[in-house]
Structures are given as structure tokens and as C-alpha cells.
Symmetry: C2
Subunit: 120 residues, 2 copies
Amino acid sequence: MPSRLIVSRELADLFRLLAHADRLRLIEDLRGGEKDVTGIAQSLDLPATRVSQHLALLRAQRLVEERRDGRNHFYRLAHPHLAAWVLDALPFIDIRQRLEDADHIDTARALWSVADRNPH
Amino acid sequence: MPSRLIVSRELADLFRLLAHADRLRLIEDLRGGEKDVTGIAQSLDLPATRVSQHLALLRAQRLVEERRDGRNHFYRLAHPHLAAWVLDALPFIDIRQRLEDADHIDTARALWSVADRNPH
DNA sequence: CCAATGTCTGCAAAAGTTCGCAGGCGTGCA
DNA sequence: TGCACGCCTGCGAACTTTTGCAGACATTGG
């Protein structure tokens, strides 16, 4: 029964792709809709080259899709539900370290949620 | 607004912990309830030392809890819902490579689900 | 007490990831 | 055509993770 092994490897690849704070922020940033590389770089405060490198990884596993318009490359989530699923992981993080109790998870979720689409 | 950065780092740590095929299999293996190290090692077909190393990582981030009985250490999921959440990621894996279409996701999910608690 | 068993930890080599930088490619504007 | 812009890729250095192995520790049975 090798399917299990195959599936676990596929899932591990996905988790590895998500195992980087900047890529997670990027995914949350795309929740509002498509955005070009420079726009993402500005809102995450990262060099555009690095954003492009992250996007190349996400693209390789079809987590984002690209649309070109002139010299700009616009990216969007291939699965819009992905961002919500990522936030569903909040209950599993070890809250002892930096957050005090379960209420703060809600605070964090709120902070990161739809309402908050201003500069930063 | 640094909370966002903090949360994304916490989430990235969690994803990094899950970004290993054997640890994912381990988590799925514990879905059925607690199990000792040797038992896990047998059902995953891995050396017990390695299982212990993986468990040490999962323990450090409070994803599993330990109960000792004599010389055996029994482990269980700290959040039983974790295993289900992991499987919710199946729609996001890139299915072109080894699986043909969406039906196979269901097959994979079924293969890995509750019914399947026989040897392997 | 001694030996066997089940598990844990430390270490170092191998493998993998991240990051900055240099240079390349395509597009648009003067 | 030439230049600036937006983005992409390749490369090497620094860092992190994985793995097997050797040895340690605690518990149990003889």
C-alpha cells in the first residue's frame, strides 16, 4: 500500500513550501486578490528579488497563478481557500511562548483578517 | 503592527514541523489513539531511534503528549483535530504529478482514513 | 545486583534551504 | 534605437535539517 507513502510525501512538500514566514505573509497578502511583484514586495517590506524567488517556488507547486500585463506580473492564489485553511492552524501553535492564552489567538486572527487591508 | 510577523513565524515553525513525510505518517498513525514508540516504529517501518527523534520535535512544540508506563512511553496527539486538518490540505497538493484527478484525492483520503487501521 | 529492554540524547556527515548579488530577458517610452 | 523598468534565474556562501550511530538513562525480571 504505497499510496500512503506517496500522499505523505506530497503533503510534506506542501508543508515545506508553507514553512517560511515570508511565504505565509505573501499568501495572506494575496487573499485580497491579485497583485504584482512590486506591490507584494512593498506591502511585505522585502526586496522584490526575494519575493520573486518565493513566487517561483509557489508557482512550481501551482499554489499561485500568474497573469502578465506589460512588464508587470500579477499573481493570485490558485486556491483562494488556502489562506483560510492556513489560519485554521492557529489553534495548534504553541501559545505559551509569545501569546498568553486562547483569546490572543482570536486577536491574531482578527489582526490578520479581512478588515485589515490598510497599508500596514 | 508586529503581531502579524510574530504569528507568521509561529505558523512557519508549525509548518516546518509538519514538513516531513514520516512525521505526517506518525501523526496519522496516532489518530487511532495513543501508541508507544516501538509500536509506531513498527507500523511506519522505521528505526525506533528515528521515531524517537521525530517525537522529540513534536513534543517540543506540544503537538504530542507523553504518558510513561514502565519502560514504555505512550504518545498521543495534543490536538486530535490536527490529523483531520492535515488531510484538509489534500485539495492543495499538485495532483498532476502522481494522481490523475480529483477523484483520486478522495481515494487517498479514504485510504488514509479511519477504516484503515490494519497492519499496513 | 546484573542483564535485557525501551527510549532518549549527542554528535558529525550529508543533504537541503535561504539569501544577496550579478546578470539576463522582455516590454514600453522617448 | 536606446534606455529604464519590472521581473526572472543562476550561483555561491551561510545556515538548517536529517540521518545513522554510539552511548546514556530508567525500568523490570532473574
